[in-house]
Symmetry: C2
Subunit: 180 residues, 2 copies
């Protein structure tokens, strides 16, 4: 799976063959097919795993009854995850279209649960007048996409630590949702 | 170029051959090579064109001396462009890694100019105490990535028009940058 991930990052799913993956893993092609019925099955497995792990982090973060605290914790956990699991997150976002429709179903369902965490925290905050109710749908999309995009630009040798970036994003997002 | 764009959206750059592109365009492979020396040259041309067009839109939008008005106009123009030129924007963002380093140079330079529009408007706003100075670098990245990501989720048959989305994003971003 690590060999497949490296190959997908470098050449994309369609630019990678099971032969390439086997070569990187130092094993025979037949051996790879023993574990994964197809290259699509390998990609699907990678994507399910990373999305389940993200969801577990968000479940752990979403403990506060206070919607402002909860949203901040969700944003921090989401951003940290996308710096720690950068390659998998990047492949997960760029290659969803490479899966067959029936292979996508499980991942789309998991992603809906990720998105529901943000939606619920934002809606709870709106209900308590802690967040503005204006532009709610766009706010949900803006929050999810800006946090996900961190996997695209984060550099381990950059000037900010993952925790600093996570804190900055939480503050930016709480500002964005402040009642007007 | 339209045939190449359609193929890249559907199968990715590495999953597409010059033969596929020629077939879609209803022409001979030799004819395609007459215009483009390689598949990479085709991708590079597509990406330069879409980034130059985006830059032209932002140049036209960035007329106000007032940094708040200017940033709002830039965000609106950027979001509208990413709904109108959705396929090219998506390929431009997902396939930059598919270009050889020397093919990337021109595009990275153009993108820096796109990013400079946002940076300058935000810095001018900070200098006039219209925007918060906290988290400036993360704010620049958050603004650019959330606007770019619209190309990933926008649906022409969705409940919001491009102009409504553009207005909502401008308002969200101005809120995000309000002095605390």
């Amino acid at each position: 799976m690590q060999a497949a991930l490296d190959a997908f990052v470098e050449h994309g799913f369609h630019g990678t063959s099971m032969r390439d993956i086997a070569r990187r893993a130092g094993t025979a092609v037949s051996h790879s097919y023993y574990y994964f019925a197809s290259k699509g099955e390998l990609l699907r497995t990678l994507m399910v795993r990373v999305t389940e792990d993200l969801l577990r982090e968000l479940d752990h973060a979403a403990t506060s009854a206070d919607p402002v605290d909860r949203l901040a914790a969700l944003v921090r956990a989401h951003v940290l995850f996308h710096t720690e699991r950068q390659a998998e997150s990047f492949v997960g976002n760029s290659e969803l279209r490479s899966l067959a429709p029936d292979e996508r179903t499980a991942i789309v369902a998991l992603r809906d649960r990720v998105s529901d965490h943000f939606k619920t925290a934002i809606d709870d905050g709106i209900q308590q007048d802690r967040f503005t109710a204006a532009r709610r749908d766009e706010a949900v999309l803006a929050v999810a996409t800006m946090c996900t995009a961190v996997a695209g630009w984060y550099r381990a040798d950059g000037s900010r630590t993952p925790h600093e970036i996570a804190d900055a994003y939480a503050a930016l997002i709480l500002n964005m949702l402040r009642p007007e």
